[in-house]
Symmetry: C2
Subunit: 200 residues, 2 copies
Amino acid sequence: MKLLEEKIRAEGKAVNEHILKVDSFINHQVDAFFMMQIGEAFAGHFRDKGITKVVTIESSGIAPAVMTALALNVPLIILKKQSSKILNDDLYQTAVTSFTKGCEYELTMSKHFISKEDHVLIIDDFLANGEAATGAIRLLRLANATVAGVGILIEKSFQPGRDKLIEQGVEVFSLARIKRLGKNLIEFLPADSKMTEPRN
Amino acid sequence: MKLLEEKIRAEGKAVNEHILKVDSFINHQVDAFFMMQIGEAFAGHFRDKGITKVVTIESSGIAPAVMTALALNVPLIILKKQSSKILNDDLYQTAVTSFTKGCEYELTMSKHFISKEDHVLIIDDFLANGEAATGAIRLLRLANATVAGVGILIEKSFQPGRDKLIEQGVEVFSLARIKRLGKNLIEFLPADSKMTEPRN
């Protein structure tokens, strides 16, 4: 998505080889109209795939995910990060390690809102090691739902997340793919979304 | 907002005198189209108030807040709940106690995105004791911004939040006001939004 790459170039801050800050339009300040355009880009790609629900992980994925759900006219499910295991028959839980944030949490989903009839699109802001998305896939498969794909705003292509998801048989669709980061350096790979955009 | 009251009656679960679960359309599963209607209801009320930013607190307020920001055509700022004080000149922080959840956190906002030029609408899903909204007001006043009002989806009118905010000189606009909760009992007060709805 050309517009996202332009925003990253203009407003993103590469702190070092690992960290890209996009606080001014995605993570802290949110450009709502841009989120709507992002939702429409995901919906454009996944529209004919029979999606019944959009799933995201709190909290940075919520804004783009609710716009995607709106564009696809399906409900959104927000997976919760609990600090500890909850003994409750109504819940699915799975442990997730965040290497980026250096913490562990129990990803949690109610059994009431996802069933074997569901074909799910997972939306998240970043894909790095793929731990959060893999946790979401584990929960969805516990519910016997199927996964239509993972839609990502910014993929750190130098980290193993994408390969890890593809190995699990899941399509990854990233609006921007970062090849390399460095102090004040941001290099892109061609994004998955290129073909769905109008030609200039 | 009649539609919200109807949804609460149909899908909300009053667990006891204090707890109302709205997991099926607001907090865990999210009805995206309904969130858009909620955003339009807030925008309809606050449209002529010169709002420059919408602010919410992660994570249940994000979906209605991003729709409000979209309808008002202004940016959204998501305040973060940090577990500890961060020593950083770029941040405002204030301690907030959640009586509902029995925990304390540092509400955190970057200095880069709010200034004395801003006139801010705060959006949140629930208003109970008003601690989170009061924390948001403290941060905004640290930044010398002004507060246009607080927009709430569900106000527990039997708790002191509303009065606490009004004492601080802040308008409260609630789409649904709960007078009393009990096991399988939900009683409403007339909502603030009544006058802005079309007559039947």
